[in-house]
Amino acid sequence: MHATIQKSIDEIVTYFKPGEKLFVVGCDNCAAKCHSGGIPETEEMANRLKKRGVNVIGWCVPQPKGMSLCKLSNTKKVLQEEYGEETRQADSFLILACGQGFHTVIDATDGGAVHPGCDTIFGGETVSDDFIAEYCSLCGECIVEQTGGLCPVTLCAKSLLNGPCGGAKDGKCEVDRNRDCGWQLIYDRLRTLGRLEQMKEYVEPKNNSRWSRPRSLTVGEKEATFVSLAGSSTIVNHD
């Protein structure tokens, strides 16, 4: 999921010109789980802005339940058909979702003006209803086969690939003594799995061209094509 956190209301209110007609849009998937842009938060944001004198002309969180705002076909249908009357009047949209959602609304409104209502902070695991943690950096070249399923790019503050630096103390990272050293976690896990030998293998530097931005993925039923500065790579997911 894409973890998001709302920007402060004080920052958000500075975005709008006097009288600007605003429509607020949330997301019922990730932002709902983050309580940054589900139905209650989106309605609440509309009311908070009205209270501060912003001309809010409506709000919505595209349904059905659990739907992602970043699914363009659905968002377009909802914004242009269900809420067409309001969205056509709107001068701009405040988006309570991730950065992908911001762009989805631009596309769904044929180039509408958007304001970011959230900071998109990371891709994470929903560990519990109230805790989301980052385990993957979306680098485009997974190496966790060698590290017991734990990603050193993400869990090590320095993204080291060949073992720990000398900075850990009592298994905690040098940047934050409350945080586990990623390589301590990997070492412990490889030991538990009986695969410590893997830690002795040299790991090549990352191919950062697979981590270039922006990237795209074209998907079909039987194959997928990933395009980055590393080139275009097609994988057949069928025998």
């Binding site: 073992g163 720990p164 000398g166 040299y202």
Partner: protein, 292 residues
């Protein structure tokens, strides 16, 4: 061939010193400190933005040492440069006559004075050693041929007091496989602990220089114990410092440092003395440690 490489190859016991470049352009003072130790140490480590604090670069100060006929150990960290800059800086260093290179990960920017900086770490220290070895062989890391190749003497670091020690040993092996031909350690205060480490590291048959940081006060010891990874100052040394009158403190510092050096000397192939500004004590330390 660098003096350091020659001496270590000849199985001599070596003593190296350290310079921390200042924040600013006035490097006369640190060069003068080095000058004062010309006959005491074989080479001077020049730290690379130590503690992730922005300063004048280690290459410039290393080059200035070369100009004065002093030998640097150019410290190069992975924190601030991508693979293009790391390789290019290595070639530039060679052009300045720098032969010894210590390849390190580097403290995280969050520990320094520019906490919002982007941490680079495009390569890690193992990969950097491998890349530097490739340059020595006349190619860049992609395999493109170089016009003229360097011949660096490459070193790495290891933390003997790390707990657990095994990951450090695993990484040390990787560093050796990648081209590390000497090692410097994090500061040693417990020779017994160092001996345990050496029992495991001896089999690598690579010269290891024990790191010795001069202990200036009990407060410094407590600070390091609380904050610096891989350093453990035992209680008896802390009480020894506490019981020393202020005016006798430098004398005590010399005594303790020399004692540690004497204890580790039979175990390794050199010491790397980090005086942290108390450079004037180094000759006495060397004398008391019977290294002269």
């Amino acid at each position: 061939m660098s003096n350091l490489k020659q001496a270590l190859q000849d199985k001599k016991f070596v003593v190296s010193g350290e310079i921390g470049p200042p924040k600013g352009v006035d490097i006369e003072k640190c060069l003068k400190n080095a000058e004062g130790l010309r006959n005491q140490v074989i080479a001077f480590n020049v730290t690379d933005l130590q503690s992730a604090v922005m300063r004048i670069g280690s290459m410039a100060v290393s080059a200035k040492l070369v100009e004065r006929g002093l030998e640097p150990v150019y410290q190069l960290t992975c924190r601030d440069r991508n693979r293009l800059a790391l390789q290019s800086d290595l070639l530039s260093a060679w052009a300045f006559g720098i032969e010894n290179v210590l390849c390190l990960t580097g403290d995280h920017p969050n520990l320094g004075d520019h906490v919002q900086a982007k941490p680079v770490y495009d390569l890690d220290s193992v990969q950097l050693l491998k890349v530097a070895t490739t340059l020595n062989q006349g190619h860049d890391m992609i395999g493109h041929e170089l016009e003229g190749k360097p011949d660096f003497f490459l070193g790495g670091v290891v933390t003997p007091a790390a707990d657990p020690m095994e990951p450090q040993i695993i990484k040390m092996q990787k560093k050796i496989d990648s081209g590390a031909r000497f090692f410097q350690t994090q500061a040693i205060y417990e020779p017994e602990q160092f001996e345990m480490f050496m029992n495991q590291a001896q089999r690598f048959n690579v010269p290891i220089m024990a790191g010795v940081v001069v202990l200036k006060s009990a407060a410094m010891a407590k600070f390091m114990n609380a904050n610096v990874a891989g350093i453990k100052v035992p209680d008896n040394l802390i009480s020894e410092m506490e019981e020393t009158k202020k005016e006798d403190r430098k004398k005590k510092t010399v005594e303790i440092t020399a004692r540690i050096i004497r204890a580790v000397k039979p175990l390794c192939q050199g010491v790397h003395i980090m005086p942290l500004g108390w450079d004037e004590l180094v000759p006495d330390i060397i004398k008391q440690a019977a290294l002269d």
